[in-house]
Symmetry: C2
Subunit: 320 residues, 2 copies
Amino acid sequence: MELNITHSTEEETRRDFDVIIIGAGASGFSAAIYAVRSGLSAIILDKSVSGGLTAEAPLVENYLGFKAIPGVDLAREFANHASEYAPINEYTEVYSIKKGAEKFTVETNKGNYTGSSVIVATGTTHKHLNVPGEKEYYGKGVSYCSTCDGYLYKDRKVVVIGGGNSGAIAAISMSEYTSEMRILEFMPRYMCEEAYINTIRNRKIPYLMNSQVLEIVGNGKKVTEVRYKNRETGKEDVVETDGVFIYVGLLPQTGFLKDSGVNLNDRGYINVDQKGRTSVNGIYASGDVTGTEAQIATAVGDGCRVSMTLYSDLLKNGKR
Amino acid sequence: MELNITHSTEEETRRDFDVIIIGAGASGFSAAIYAVRSGLSAIILDKSVSGGLTAEAPLVENYLGFKAIPGVDLAREFANHASEYAPINEYTEVYSIKKGAEKFTVETNKGNYTGSSVIVATGTTHKHLNVPGEKEYYGKGVSYCSTCDGYLYKDRKVVVIGGGNSGAIAAISMSEYTSEMRILEFMPRYMCEEAYINTIRNRKIPYLMNSQVLEIVGNGKKVTEVRYKNRETGKEDVVETDGVFIYVGLLPQTGFLKDSGVNLNDRGYINVDQKGRTSVNGIYASGDVTGTEAQIATAVGDGCRVSMTLYSDLLKNGKR
């Protein structure tokens, strides 16, 4: 999703803000609204397009107020809402955050920004399987985003790898229009919410447990099958398919924090206190990158909370 | 706001659920959606009508996804959404929660309910000024809810007592149609967000700091004026008015927890861990009643979080 937001020249060239928000997803958006409504200036930077993982959800049914809305539409509502408060600079990748005497310098591929405070809301990205064929056939049958690519497989065969909530949702939503759908799950049990299990059963989508993917096979031009092993019996098998959608987990986006002094936990998520403060005064974090429930609702709530905390910290420190 | 939700006879008479959710506001609604999507059965009880404080907000602009929506409309969206997952029993006042061997018994004015778990999401209610005239003229000029009663004062004079965010929002929204509006604030400074300060200034709404209300004066039938003292100069003054809207703070709704074993803090809010667990195994709490930021966003996020925690606690305890 790319936004067409018109900013004034002043905004386009402005480089100094009270708060630099890194990550244009649900949490960063909510943080921006609250920061600006407190009287702070803010900018939102994202290395790619805005929307975050919300934009990749086929259908969102659990964010209070929206009974059922495609993720890409909800993400657009979110971005439109937030952009009334702060500019959203897409394709702006942050390389590092450096603490100066007064301000933080945020280095990006589009030059430096300075801010008194920083909120990291970069979320997570998809893990890879790391099997033969995965890289080779990426974009030629292999995908990590059913919302983006699912409809290319109308009346065709699709395998979803990974039967957690994300994989289940992807499989369920694509099964509306694919000719065949199945789920390969590594673990020996259902890994998704009961609501999804019921739907999977009702729709008779095979959910093959104990399945370890060995290779994504193609004819050089496109994917033709997935080779996998039953971890219990050791028996290998193949399933013919046109598409392979990989949902095997998430990686927090924290690489650029390497020399920032911000403490991460052993899985790479940012350690924060209950209010979103990191180990560095003036740097805050919220949303999926802090290792929370990875839900839109919590991302939005924590984005609100982190900006209210940031503002009250400024007040307490006599900086407003 | 009263809902017209048709429940089956089975639902109406059903008394045992996996989760009893007390409080039909933003947090309880979000908790219900997540609990039921996890495969749990749930019911929502409220001593009054559903909607909570969301329904009293004149205009909500800071809940991500809704640029600007009257609180009463947003509350209706919320209730409609939640009611697809769980019945909402209005006018059902909880008297106590008793822990049994297997289940909790929740005593109400409409009989007992039993549940394996309880989520308390009862929120807060408005504090009183406790000055002469306040009780006497309640409903005769005195109100705690601008959304409910504001429009009765079209082309008339109104005083809002308390200049925090809630009072500021009430004053701003009513100033659209009143003939005169002013705000009396006890403290010697602005107590609301800068966004509201700007609007108050733009609209030239007097914001009288250091004002201690002494009495709400009437003619026996209705309010005629407010008598107050300047705390700095000691000088008393009166302001003629038709309506008095009181916004001086919130009280957590925790009276029914007296003998439950649930620990409260010194302000009466429920002590919870980061995930919404109270001091009693099986009783959880979320939203304003836990003393959080009192925002819709955090109430919704914490409602999601508490149900995910509850479900994972059940799994860990081998109860699902």
